[in-house]
């Protein structure tokens, strides 16, 4: 054993959801749920889209504001889906194919957002089930225990099985089911009227969904800062407190593009791997719009030190560090092998090094001098992702 890294990520406590649900033993058979509303949106995340259904207007508004250009609301031109199947019969159909209710025009013309009153809604197949389909359901408020510890709203329990994953937190519970082809179908149960807690619950679930979906797409969700320069991406991998936000802020100050200061998506690409922005962030503002993935040029393992140095590491050391920073999946015994397989394929051919760094930013010239894609100095406006890179 010549290297050792502590894992990050949630571990399933026992018993599941006892702190969050009044009847944790009944979930997912209970609580019952019905759609919160009949609105929908597509979230344009890597390996998506993620189709969100059953939203009421307030929920959709919060999601649209939070996710900016990643969110295509159902009423916007180009949206692929407008309606959640509402009835039991429709729901059975929706197990196999997505359905639309009402007069949705596949050509993109505006259409109704609800079936005409007093008339049965026609049901017809539309798109195949998207890579991720998420139904938002209203559950009786008594289903959830009340939060007794303010500030703990981002903690939750996760229970992973071979084909499904359960989550529960303050004011929500969720079920993720894996379907054929690595597609995922999810339900999010929330108490209607929990306006303040909804977005936190939704984002919690979305992070977990992204981790599972990316894995099935051959990729990984990694705790990492992702910096873009000259059309390529560099990943700075590190756990909480490793310095990801520090690196991201310094990159911005140097005029470099920043895709992420907290979580980035690693996906397969011709000839190697690609890195993409996600709408999740640490200390910085999250990305506001999707951008094409950038080819991954280098992986740097963050290690705070008293001096700046770049120490080459083996592919195995890079994979180990990345696995330690793959939240939820690295704690899921059903999927850790697949995670290692993916990381081995994606990082095996990418130059990797341990970046021993001080927080004063003295390491940037080292990166430029070492032949990576990051330039030593660059003028230009700082931004989350430069326009040229976004258009690349």
């Amino acid at each position: 054993v010549h290297d050792r890294v502590l894992l990050t990520g949630a571990r399933a406590p026992a018993p599941f959801a006892a702190s969050f649900l009044t009847r944790p033993d009944r979930f997912p058979d209970e609580p019952a749920g019905s759609p919160c509303g009949d609105l929908a949106a597509d979230l344009l995340l890597p390996a998506g889209p993620y189709r969100v259904r059953g939203l009421d207007a307030a929920q959709l508004g919060r999601i649209a504001r939070r996710f900016g250009g990643f969110c295509v609301p159902g009423d916007a031109p180009g949206a692929a889906h407008r309606f959640l199947p509402l009835g039991d019969g429709d729901r059975r159909v929706a197990d196999d194919v997505a359905v639309e209710i009402g007069g949705h025009d596949r050509g993109g013309a505006p259409s109704r957002t609800a079936p005409p009153a007093g008339r049965p809604a026609p049901v017809r197949p539309c798109d195949p089930e998207p890579p991720v389909a998420l139904d938002v359901l209203a559950a009786p408020p008594r289903s959830f225990r009340r939060s007794v510890t303010p500030g703990w709203h981002y903690s939750f329990d996760l229970d992973a099985g071979p084909e499904r994953v359960r989550l529960a937190g303050w004011g929500f519970c969720a079920l993720l089911e894996r379907r054929a082809g690595g597609r995922w179908r999810a339900g999010l149960w929330v108490a209607p009227g929990d306006r303040r807690g909804f977005l936190g619950s939704f984002v919690n679930l979305l992070r977990v969904l992204a981790a599972y979906r990316l894995l099935d797409a051959g990729g990984a969700l990694l705790h990492s800062a992702a910096v873009a320069d000259r059309g390529a991406g560099t990943l700075f991998v590190g756990r909480s407190g490793a310095g990801k936000s520090t690196v991201a802020r310094q990159a911005l100050a140097r005029g470099l593009g920043v895709l992420s200061d907290e979580l980035a998506a690693l996906t397969p690409a011709p000839g190697g791997a690609a890195v993409s922005a996600l709408p999740f962030a640490g200390d910085l503002e999250p990305a506001r719009r999707p951008a094409p993935p950038l080819p991954l040029a280098r992986v740097l393992l963050l290690a705070q030190a008293r001096r700046d140095a770049l120490v080459p590491v083996s592919a195995a050391q890079a994979v180990a560090a990345a696995a330690a920073c793959a939240p939820w999946i690295n704690a899921d015994r059903h999927r850790t092998g697949a995670l290692l397989d993916n990381l081995g394929r994606l990082l095996g051919a990418v130059p990797a090094a341990r970046l021993e760094f001080t927080r004063d930013g003295g390491f940037w010239p080292l990166l430029a001098a070492s032949g990576g894609t990051i330039s030593s100095e660059r003028s230009g406006a700082a931004g989350a992702l430069t326009e040229a890179e976004a258009a690349a």
Partner: protein, 103 residues
């Protein structure tokens, strides 16, 4: 003293239930979920784990190491024994029940 005795007889080990590992290049990455931690094994350690996980008893592991790494059998036996002890103390492997090894 036979080789088998030198290696601790036909002792067999298996990865613990919470362990997942993959070869990456010549090394191996080991995830221990109960710890929780990730380990990197050097090429010899990776090969020892791979052979043990494949059901090879410790004496056979030593013999294969001697052939593959072109070292003296006694040295390979000692290495195999030492690595197995290290992996066991690190929580990566555990003695395999006799039913699994056919002994």
């Amino acid at each position: 003293v036979t080789g088998s005795a030198a290696f601790g007889g036909g002792d067999a080990y298996r990865p613990r239930r919470d362990v997942r590992f993959r070869r990456i290049g010549e090394e191996a990455v080991v995830v221990r979920q109960e710890a929780p931690e990730v380990l990197v094994l050097n090429p010899v350690g990776a090969r020892v784990l791979e052979l043990l996980a494949g059901g090879e008893p410790l004496d056979a592991v030593g013999a294969k190491l001697a052939a593959e790494f072109e070292v003296a059998p006694a040295a390979a036996a000692a290495d195999a024994r030492a690595f197995a002890a290290e992996l066991e103390s690190a929580g990566v492997i555990e003695p395999a029940p006799e039913a699994e090894t056919g002994r």
